[in-house]
């Protein structure tokens, strides 16, 4: 390799590295998904087993559980790289740090967000949501978890050096994620009522575009603060 890697090449390398590392510890990578299943199971146990009643809050429960599971996984997305010095090498590498961090977030979403999105119809059915709303549920969750990966990436980059920063990470990211939750749950409840959910879905898509375009810049600024000290 005599030339520095171009943009696409560096993204491919980072994503492949992350996926390979996760595959070697696939049981760790599966933990957020298991947490998601366990949390969604808690709600029918705590409220009522009747599907007709669960249906009214089912969309919200699926969304809140997806938010919390994603946050759990986000806490450690940068930690091991910062601890062993890889992140410093990335900061000094001359590659755009925002792009490299975006690549990490892409890999992170593929490992945690995507499984949540794929299993959400099953979870939704368990909470009484009908088959007809699955497309809206899946699309809203896909946009929401992807946006949350970037927002959480900003929070993770800010808190990576703090001991026991996981609760602080949630405190910082959840207020920023509340609009996502509002629109996502609204999309599902509109679809449940048989109406068109394009309004909230378009707003979710807009927030997604905003997060993925400007978010990596904030992540790279935060990461420089955390690594340069």
């Amino acid at each position: 390799m005599t030339q520095p890697a171009g943009l696409l090449e560096s993204m491919r390398l980072v994503v492949r590295r992350e996926l390979t590392l996760a595959w070697r510890r696939w049981d760790e990578a599966a933990q957020p998904l298991l947490f998601y299943l366990v949390v969604t199971t808690l709600f029918p146990l705590a409220t009522t087993p009747e599907l007709a009643t669960l249906r009214t809050v089912g969309g919200g429960v699926v969304w809140v559980a997806a938010l919390l599971s994603s946050l759990l996984a986000l806490e450690s997305v940068f930690r091991s790289d910062v601890e062993d010095g890889t992140m410093e090498q990335w900061v000094l590498s001359g590659q755009p740090l925002a792009w490299l961090l975006l690549a990490k977030v892409v890999a992170h979403w593929l490992l945690t967000g995507l499984p949540l999105v794929l299993i959400s119809p099953v979870v939704g059915a368990a909470l009484g949501l009908p088959v007809g709303i699955w497309p809206t549920l899946v699309l809203s969750l896909a946009l929401g978890t992807a946006t949350l990966s970037v927002l959480g990436g900003i929070g993770a980059a800010l808190t990576v050096g703090i001991r026991r920063g996981s609760v602080l990470l949630s405190l910082l990211v959840l207020p920023l994620a509340m609009p996502l939750l509002i629109f996502g749950a609204r999309a599902v409840s509109l679809a449940l009522g048989g109406e068109s959910a394009t309004g909230p879905l378009q707003l979710l898509a807009a927030i997604f575009c905003l997060a993925w375009s400007l978010g990596p810049l904030a992540m790279s600024a935060a990461m420089r603060v955390s690594t340069e000290g």
């Binding site: 900003i154 800010l158 808190t159 050096g161 703090i162 920063g165 602080l168 405190l171 910082l172 959840l174 207020p175 920023l176 509340m178 609009p179 509002i182 904030a218 600024a221 935060a222 603060v225 955390s226 000290g229």
Partner: protein, 242 residues
């Protein structure tokens, strides 16, 4: 030409200037707030719909405006600190945060007290109340992030990034009553049209707002002096001053 601005970034100079400025904010603030309270509670006419109960407006609305204003001030100070690496700008942002959080809490609490007799409920999850609550969480998260770093420089820069990322919430709060049908009434004053509120009621509102602004100015002077003292506690120039 910009010497006066550059000199402001020197802590001893800034400390002296802030000490001289503070009374010019403080006493007018006290006077205006007292005048606004008297005018709003006693002199202004009663509302035809809400009766005397609307008078809590004179505490609630300026507090809500200040909560958004202070967040923007904090974000701008944080941005100045990040871009031009001015320690004092970071200190100003740190000084603003608890004041802004207090105004946000005051707005939420007085709004809740007003809502119970007028709407019949202490709270409702409509767009404006929810986004104001999110603003409170953003302030508290900023203060929590700041306090979790041992190194003051890292604390400054990390919380600056957070403040700038969170500023998107402020326009959402302001426009929330236009974009969504909410229980909270739409904007009567801060809009590009004639105010929808009668002049005898509007005047004490602006007096209270001016009083709150000057109060914030006074608080910021004093708190910034405190921040300077804390950050420069090992410096030589402190011996002569404090």
């Amino acid at each position: 030409m910009w010497t006066w601005f550059h000199k402001l970034s020197s802590p001893p100079h800034a400390y002296r200037i802030l000490g001289r400025l503070a009374p010019w904010f403080g006493w007018p603030a006290l006077g205006l707030i007292l005048l606004g309270v008297y005018w709003g509670l006693v002199k202004a006419p009663a509302d035809y719909q809400q009766g005397e109960g609307f008078r809590i407006l004179y505490v609630h609305a300026p507090a809500a405006w200040m909560s958004m204003f202070i967040y923007v001030v904090m974000a701008v100070a944080a941005a100045i600190g990040l871009i031009w690496r001015m320690k004092l700008a970071h200190a100003a942002a740190a000084a603003c945060a608890p004041v802004g959080a207090s105004f946000t809490f005051l707005a939420l609490a007085t709004g809740s007290i007003w809502g119970k007799p007028m709407w019949g409920t202490w709270w409702v999850w409509d767009a404006r109340l929810t986004s104001e609550l999110i603003l409170l969480f953003l302030y508290l998260g900023y203060m929590a992030l700041r306090s979790s770093f041992d190194d003051p420089r890292r604390a400054d820069r990390a919380s600056a990034v957070l403040a700038i990322v969170g500023v998107i919430n402020v326009p959402i709060i302001h426009y929330s009553v236009e974009w969504w049908t909410t229980l909270h009434q739409p904007a009567s004053v801060t809009r590009i049209a004639k105010p929808a509120i009668a002049l005898p009621m509007l005047v004490p509102l602006f007096i209270m707002l001016a009083g709150y602004q000057l109060y914030f100015g006074w608080l910021l002077c004093r708190r910034l002096q405190g921040e300077i003292l804390r950050r420069e506690r090992n410096a030589g120039w402190l011996q002569e001053v404090a």
